[in-house]
Amino acid sequence: MNPIIHIVDDDLSFRIALGRLLSASGYGVALYASGEELLARLPGIEHGCILLDLDMPGLSGLALQEKLSTMAPLLPIVFLTGHGDIKAGVQAMKAGADDFLEKPATADILLETIDKSLRRADIRQEEFARTNASRARLSNLTPREFEVLRLLVRGKLNKQIAHALGTSERTIKAHRHNLMEKIGARSLAEAVSIAERLGLVDLVEEGDAS
């Protein structure tokens, strides 16, 4: 699927010109006169990059960024602003912006920045997809299997787990086999890495402390 560049700028002429440039450079382009306009069409926007003006009447660039962080966290945002104000730049980057460019940016810098942010977005997307898949698999586990996994990634032995759960070692072995199959891990190391990605390691530490 071709990435689409979403241009949000209150200046019609600038919006159109930028759209032409990106379109000529091979991108799909969507134009929005304001942040509100973008939000209204948000459900359909998944892939691509947002080019965002900082100062706009109505929703400002930073306010839109805040809303998008929850509504479309994976969409990369590149700010494009008329006045390179350090304070606003720092604020935007801290809030997760991909880049912060000053108008008028040259086509080279603009395209390079967009490429980079799209690549990063791809990686994030993949990671997100993987995590999502793992999380989906994890949700297939029975509560008993989940408990076993929790203790397993903490490095407990079958015997210790069986003791902790008050069951036999053989039963634990069966649970272990089943859950490894469900999360698609071929080794203990793989299972640990998945658990880590899903934020289960902390839980393990916690449990250990208790």
């Binding site: 010109a17 440039l21 008329g82």
Partner: protein, 628 residues
């Protein structure tokens, strides 16, 4: 006024001094008279006039005699006048009758002195002395010494003789005409005329050596007039007497003079005062007045018993001012003491007090006017200076505004510049493709042109803010249009600050007459002030600019904001210079706004809105329409 008072005082003082002198002199005089005449009565003087009282000589000389005598005695004298009227009644019977009549008339009041004016009076008294005034002393006057000898007057008669000196008249002429080269002496054909010419030739012997001299005698009056018309302009003409011309016609000499002078081409002089007003410039003459005075002096001497001798009436230089003017002769050459007759008395001479007062008042007025003019000039200069200062301050304020807005303006400018760049780059990419979309290229170029125009407009507005005015640039413009321009300038800054700018405008144009930039400055000052009042945080920040026509037909622009409003106790002072609530404010913005408004005959008002925030109203008079 003070000068006038001083004059009046001086005059009063002088009058007092004179009266005092007179009083001191009088006792001495009366004593002298008393010794010779009487201890008790005033001296009696009888003045005999040969003709009636209307003759000029009578009026002038007689009056001079009376005046002198009355002055010298302080009025303590009896003066009698008798008019013998011998010209109209020359008969011997009349003379005898008059002699008898007067003898009886003066029987009890015998005169002490008899003054006989003129030859005929002298003859009369000489004949009737015994009956009329046998103890009286006689003083005769009005003829010359040779006539007196011929009349064979008694030895004790004292005379004031009139002698004519043609040389003195000639000298007067020389002073008036220093460049003259010709001398003409005109005489008549009577015996007296011939005698006069001979005497004149002798008197003028040495004088005439300096001139090309001609004696004109034995000619008819017509010939004389013709010769006179041909005199060179640089001639001195001396007129003696013409009692008779060559053809035997008789003349009163002055009538002859008149005929000749009428056409003469050079100034004519003569030794007789009677010639004056008959066309001569002047001469060395005996005046009737001086004759009268001399006679009176002599009579006084006689009264005082002083030893007396014959006297000579003083001769004076006399000129006719009109003739001086006619011949272009300057009165600066006149000898001192010369009497100028027929001179138009100047205003100053006639009414010197009035003239002095007038001159003084005019001078005073001139001084006051001059002072007022200088004051006016000084004020105008000060006004110009203060206007220049104001323009200077407005300019500084504009520059400050431009500085404050520069970030927004730079942003505004970056929009079209960024668009132009992107369009250009897009175009170059499109052109590199195998099948370039030329329609797109065309559209891109149109857009580039439009953005360039946009950038240009922004720069123009910016330049307006930085423009320096030396003088107020009066123009008539629509307040609605100007408000739109101001909003364009403010738009960027408002966006940057997250402020919504709204506006509404009057339906009809609101023409006002002022300097656009100055009124724009007022709008910017108030609007930026309003933005500042809203702080950083807060939602629903807005500014609204509205133009309308007021009920009393003035243009009004109101700028309302959703800010904090103005503290009630500060409403009166916010337009004062250096009032500010801002850390970085100069406190001049609103003060300048008010000054500008007042400069164009308007005013500016501030108030708080019910719903919060402040509203500023700029009210300006409408420009007069050419078609009311």
């Amino acid at each position: 006024m003070r000068m006038l008072c001083d004059w009046a005082r001086l005059q009063r003082w002088l009058t007092k001094v004179c009266s005092l002198c007179l009083l001191l002199l009088l006792p001495g005089l009366s004593t002298a008279v008393g010794q010779t005449i009487s201890e008790t009565r005033a001296p009696r003087i009888l003045v005999l006039y040969p003709y009636d009282e209307r003759i000029a000589a009578t009026t002038v000389a007689g009056e001079a005699v009376r005046k002198r005598l009355l002055d010298a005695t302080g009025g303590k004298i009896d003066l009698f006048s008798e008019f013998l009227d011998l010209s109209r009644f020359p008969e011997a019977e009349h003379v005898d009758r008059m002699g008898k009549f007067l003898a009886e008339k003066y029987a009890v009041r015998q005169p002490d002195v008899v003054i006989a004016l003129g030859e005929q009076s002298a003859n009369f008294i000489a004949k009737h002395r015994a009956s009329l005034a046998k103890d009286a002393r006689l003083v005769v006057a009005g003829f010359n010494r040779s006539t007196a000898l011929r009349m064979n007057l008694p030895a004790d008669v004292t005379g004031v003789f009139t002698e004519f000196n043609i040389l003195k008249t000639a000298e007067l002429a020389r002073r008036l005409q220093p460049d003259a080269r010709h001398l003409f002496v005109i005489g008549g054909s009577s015996e007296f005329d011939r005698w006069w010419l001979e005497a004149a030739k002798t008197d003028l012997t040495s004088f005439s050596k300096n001139y090309d001299t001609t004696y004109l005698e034995n000619l008819t009056i017509e010939e004389l007039a013709a010769r006179a018309a041909a005199f060179p302009r640089d001639s001195i003409v001396l007129m003696l007497t013409i009692f008779k011309d060559r053809s035997g016609r008789n003349f009163i000499p002055r009538d002859a003079v008149k005929q000749i002078a009428a056409n003469a081409n050079a100034p004519i002089y003569g030794p007789y005062p009677t010639y004056l007003d008959y066309g001569i410039v002047g001469g060395n003459v005996v005046t009737f007045e001086s004759l009268g005075t001399t006679v009176a002096e002599l009579a006084l001497d006689v009264l005082h018993g002083k030893p007396v001798e014959h006297a000579q009436a003083p001769l004076v230089d006399m000129v006719d001012a009109r003739q001086l003017k006619r011949w272009g002769l300057s009165d600066k050459y006149l000898p001192p003491g010369t009497v100028q007759m027929f001179r138009q008395p100047s205003l100053l001479e006639d009414h010197w007090i009035d003239v002095s007062v007038a001159v003084f008042v005019v001078a005073l007025q001139s001084v006051v006017i001059t002072i007022l003019l200088l004051e006016r000039r000084r004020r105008l200069k000060a006004e110009i200076q203060s206007r220049h200062r104001l323009l200077e301050v407005i300019h500084l304020n504009q520059s400050a505004t431009a500085g404050a807005l520069s970030a927004s303006i730079a942003h505004e400018l970056n929009q079209p510049l960024g668009a132009i760049r992107s369009n250009a780059e897009a175009a170059s990419i499109v052109l590199r493709s195998p099948f370039p979309d030329l329609k797109l290229i065309e559209q891109i170029l149109v857009d580039i042109r439009d953005d360039d125009q946009r950038a240009h407009d922004i720069i123009s507005r910016m330049r307006g803010l930085l423009k320096k005015r030396r003088e107020i640039d009066w123009q008539v413009f629509d307040l609605n249009e100007l408000t739109s321009t101001a909003i364009k300038i403010l738009q960027g800054e408002a966006v940057r600050r997250g402020i919504v700018v709204s506006s509404s405008r009057a339906e009809d144009p609101l023409p006002i007459r002022a300097d656009r930039l100055h009124v724009q400055q007022v709008i910017l000052n108030i609007a930026i002030n309003a933005m500042d009042s809203m702080g950083v945080a807060g939602t629903n920040k807005n500014i609204s600019l509205e133009t309308r026509l007021t009920k009393d037909a003035k243009a009004e622009l109101s700028i309302s904001d959703s800010g904090d409003g103005i503290p009630e106790d500060k409403l009166a002072t916010i337009f004062e210079p250096f009032y500010t609530t801002k850390a970085a404010g100069t406190g001049l913005g609103l003060s300048i706004a008010r000054t500008i408004a007042e400069t164009y005959g308007g005013r500016i008002l501030a108030s708080n809105r019910c719903g919060g925030g402040a509203v500023f109203r700029l009210v300006l008079p409408l420009a007069r329409s050419d078609h009311p």
